[in-house]
Every structure is written in structure tokens, then in C-alpha cells.
Amino acid sequence: MSSETSYLPAGLPAPVPEADGLSAIYWKGLQQEHLLVQRCAHCGVWQFGPEWICHRCHVFDPAWVEVAALGCIYSWERVWHPVHPVLKERCPYLAVLVELPHAGHVRMVGNLLGDPLQEVRIGAEVEGVYEHHPQSSLPYSLLQWQLR
């Protein structure tokens, strides 16, 4: 699923890979509506955020594998005090931490789509929504979440 309308107003910093390119595959994947996380081809351990080495067996350059953008809410917060100019008229909003049980329980931070005043339940099942920002001077995509 994807969306051309953004949950938060335009003008927040655009995510870009580090100077060494470590996360470039991840961000490119989101633009193509593929969720990629690292899984070591040698020992099978899952890893996110990415690193140049597997934290368990120390093999370099862990493989990137595509996983389903499905998960459950691990934690959440409702933000009331804006700290960025573009958010001044947009509070409150909801951020969630989503756990992906089928991908080694790695977690992703995103926004929970829908009513910002909704009651949020830890454990609730959610699915990913790719949110594209083609109008940005450096186009990028985010992964948002909605209740299943």
C-alpha cells in the first residue's frame, strides 16, 4: 500500500544515507516499496539498523533481505509540543514503534495513520504504508503504519 499524501507536513529533513553509504539500500528500497533489513547469510541473525558487520558472527557486509511490512505496535507516543516550525499547526501526532516478529523482531519507528487522538494499544497488529515524497528536492519515501 502507498500514499502520496504525507502524515506530517512537508519540510521536515529528508532522510539520506550516511556519507559511507551504509543505509543507501534501505532508503532506495522504500522508494520502490520494498522493506529491506539485514540478515547475515552466514549465521542467519537479523539486524536493524544496519551495520557493516554482523553483530553475532562478525562476517562483513550482512545481506539485505526483503520482509513483509507487517508488525505489531511495541510502543507509542503522542507528541503535543512541536519542536520544528512545520509541526506548529500539526500537534498532536502519533509515533509508533513497530515490531516485526517474522524478521527477528526488529523494530521500526513510524507514524500511526488515522486519528491522532485515537487510543493506541500495545500489541495491535499493523501494516505498512509507503509514503512517497517525490516533491522533495531529494525525493525519498517513508514507511508509515495503519491498523490491520
Binding site: A14, V16, P17, G49, W80, H84, A95, R107
Partner: protein
């Protein structure tokens, strides 16, 4: 085998601080604040500042050791250490690093300090979030900032939310921590919130910053500087004050704590799971021996988790333990943040907590506790690395 410990080897012989200001209100530049605090600590110790031969600090303090040594005309600079990591995670580790230099003969008189003028250099949390004003964001913050998870309270609220969910902790427990700090600040003329009491109704009515943090769950932002002077236990005897001894110190992180994108295996945690046992082992005491605690309040929820991880209560007992009556110096079971701490004395990045622990052991706090032989300081919950410190009287050795 040589015993590898700081226990009883090093003492804090002097403490000093500037006046504490709301952020942006210091009449002095940051470096001058540092100098004033250092001179005040030397005066308290009754020593000539020229005897300083080392500096230790944390959180990338801008008042660097070489400039201090030059400004003070020191005959020589020996130890100069900076603890890695941001926030107040290093406020105790900086003391330990300075003490390690003294204990191993690398220096004789080390000043540990923190100076912060947010008016001059930008507000700390905002400066740390400078990416918010930028067009792009990379690395750890790239997984958060585009989703509006930008400032420190926004970065930590979900850890606390999960912990409260797992252990059935109520908002009242966070409120009790805030109220204890404000209660103590009313007896402390140094405190920025002196004369500004907080009651339950005012807390409840205060606006949300980010759930589960109300305004009063969040630290202040201030200008000031604070410093302590360290010497070995033998030299300390000749100073003006009764020495306050290091019983133990520890720093660090649990397994993969701080993994990007909120992927720390222990997520609902203040990060003392491995650090607290290390501290007690070196100090040769346990939680029951601790008479008074200064615990860094970036946010009250961090204090909640840090106290549980230091063994003062089980997580599921938090609601019963964390009531204001238990946390105040006047008859409480575990007096907490007896100067007012980061919430109500001054956000001196936690270094004011070290000074208050020294005052408690000396018996000179404005909220003096009776059981003052062993005082705990906890620095920087939820960040990586964190650190902690146990101070004690001669009787505690």
C-alpha cells in the same frame, strides 16, 4: 593480584558552582562560568588552584582542558579526559575517569566539571537536534526525525511507555518523582525553582510535552557551571573539608543498547542492567546500604527505570514505592534528588547531583538526610553510555 578498584583510594575534597540561571540568562560566557566554578571548588578545598594538574569532563564540554590550564597558568597539565557519549550519561564517569588518573599516579589533583551556557551556544536539546533545521538527516536520526521524533523527550518517551505498560506503572509514580524534586528545591536557595512549589493538581493540569511526559516530567534548561576537586585519600586529609570518598564507580551499556532505530534488545530500560551490579561490586555495598540518591532526571520516567535497575524496588512495585512521602529527605525511605536536581535546582547536566551527594555525605545539604554515609549518584538514564557513582564517609570505608 593487585586489587582493581577505586574504593577508598580517591576523595572529593572540594565542590564549587556558579549561580544557576535560566537558559540564556547567564551574564558570563561559558568559559568564564567554568573558571568560576573551578576556583570556587579550590577555595572550598582550601587549595591553591595552581596545584590542579588534570581535568575531566563529559558530553563534549567546550571548556577544554588546555585552555583551562593556560588560563589558570598551571605549572603543568597531566591528565585530560573526556567521556564519550551525550546527555548526562557521563556525569559520574567523568569523576571516575579523573579518579582513575589520581589512583594510578597519572595526576595528583584533578578537577571534574561541566559548564553550559545555552544562551551563548544554543539550547542543548535543540543544539543536539540541529538536524531539525537542516534539509537532510542521516544515520541514527534518519530513522526518527522524518517521523517527528526529534527532541530528547520524543526520543525517550516510547522507552518509558513500554516499561509502564509491561509493569503496570501509573502516571502517579512519575508525578511523585517530579514532586520530590520540587519539594527539595523549596529549601534550596540555589535552585532555579526555589519559591516555585509544585503540587499534584498543578502537575496534573500541566500540558503534555509528549505522552507520557507532562511539562513537569522534563528537565529544565539552564546556564551555569559546577566542579569538584579530586585527590588521593592520603593528600585529601590535609584539605579544608572532611574528605568524601569514592566507594565505587561504573559506566557503560548493556548488550547492543543504543542500536539504531530503537532496536536495543532491552528497550524499556534506563541501561543500568549491567552497570548497577558493577557499581555495587566495587563499592562493596548493596541497595539497602544507600541512604540517599541523586538520580539524573532528563525525564522522570528515566528515574523510575534507573531506581528499579539499582535494586530499590521491583518494577511491579513501582506504584507503591514511588510516592512523594517515600522520596523526601524529611522521613522518606529513599530521599531522592535532595537539591531539586535537573527538574528544579539546575540542569547542570547532572553535575549538580554529584555536588549534592558530596553535601549529603558532609552533612551540609539544605535537605539533609540522617542516613548519609553512603550516597548514590545516577547519570544519564536511557542514553549510552550511562554511569553511576557511590560516595561515602570515612565510616563507610
Amino acid at each position: 593480584m593487585i586489587s582493581r578498584t577505586l574504593r577508598g583510594k580517591v576523595a572529593i575534597v572540594g565542590i564549587g558552582e556558579t549561580a544557576y540561571y535560566k537558559h540564556g540568562q547567564s551574564p558570563d560566557p561559558e568559559f568564564k562560568l567554568a573558571l568560576k566554578a573551578i576556583l570556587a571548588a579550590c577555595e572550598d578545598a582550601g587549595i591553591d588552584p595552581h596545584s590542579i594538574d588534570g581535568f575531566a569532563s563529559y558530553s563534549e564540554d567546550r571548556s577544554d582542558a588546555t585552555r583551562l590550564a593556560v588560563a589558570l597558568g598551571l605549572p603543568r597539565l597531566r591528565s585530560a579526559t573526556m567521556q564519550w557519549g551525550g546527555g548526562g550519561g557521563g556525569c559520574c564517569a567523568a569523576v571516575a575517569n579523573g579518579a582513575a588518573a589520581v589512583a594510578t599516579g597519572q595526576a595528583d589533583c584533578v578537577v571534574v566539571f561541566r559548564s553550559l551556557a545555552q544562551g551563548q551556544h544554543g539550547r542543548f536539546g535543540q543544539a543536539a537536534g540541529a538536524g531539525a533545521a537542516a534539509a537532510t538527516v542521516a544515520g541514527e536520526r534518519s530513522y526518527l526525525v522524518p517521523y517527528g521524533v526529534i527532541s530528547p523527550p520524543q526520543r525517550f518517551a516510547m522507552r518509558v511507555q513500554r516499561y509502564m505498560h509491561d509493569n503496570g506503572v501509573s502516571q502517579d509514580a512519575l508525578r511523585a518523582i517530579a514532586m520530590a524534586s520540587y519539594h527539595h528545591a523549596q529549601n534550596n536557595p540555589r535552585a532555579v525553582m526555589y519559591g516555585k512549589p509544585l503540587d499534584a493538581a498543578k502537575y496534573d493540569a500541566s500540558r503534555w510535552i509528549v505522552e507520557p511526559f507532562h511539562l513537569f516530567d522534563c528537565c529544565m534548561e539552564n546556564d551555569g557551571a559546577a566542579a569538584v576537586v579530586l585527590m588521593d585519600a592520603e593528600r585529601a586529609q590535609a584539605c579544608a573539608q572532611e574528605p568524601v570518598y569514592l566507594l565505587g564507580a561504573a559506566a557503560g551499556s548493556g548488550p547492543r543498547f543504543g542500536t539504531h532505530g530503537h532496536n536495543s534488545p532491552e528497550y524499556g530500560s534506563a541501561n543500568f542492567g549491567t552497570v548497577a551490579p558493577d557499581l555495587y561490586r566495587m563499592a562493596e555495598v548493596g541497595p539497602k546500604d544507600v541512604g540517599v540518591v541523586q538520580a539524573y532526571e532528563n525525564f522522570t520516567g528515566g528515574v523510575l527505570m534507573a531506581l528499579a535497575e539499582h535494586g530499590f524496588f521491583k518494577p511491579e512495585e513501582a506504584n507503591d514505592f514511588l510516592v512523594t512521602a517515600n522520596l523526601i529527605a524529611q522521613g522518606g525511605r529513599l530521599p531522592l534528588n535532595t537539591s531539586g536536581g535537573n527538574l528544579a535546582e539546575c540542569y547542570m547536566h547532572g553535575f549538580e547531583l554529584v555536588l549534592e551527594a558530596v553535601r549529603q555525605v558532609r552533612g551540609t545539604s539544605t535537605n539533609q538526610v540522617e542516613r548519609n554515609d553512603v550516597a548514590l549518584v545516577v547519570g544519564g538514564p536511557m542514553v549510552s553510555p550511562v554511569s553511576n557513582l557511590l560516595l561515602g564517609s570515612r565510616a563507610a570505608l
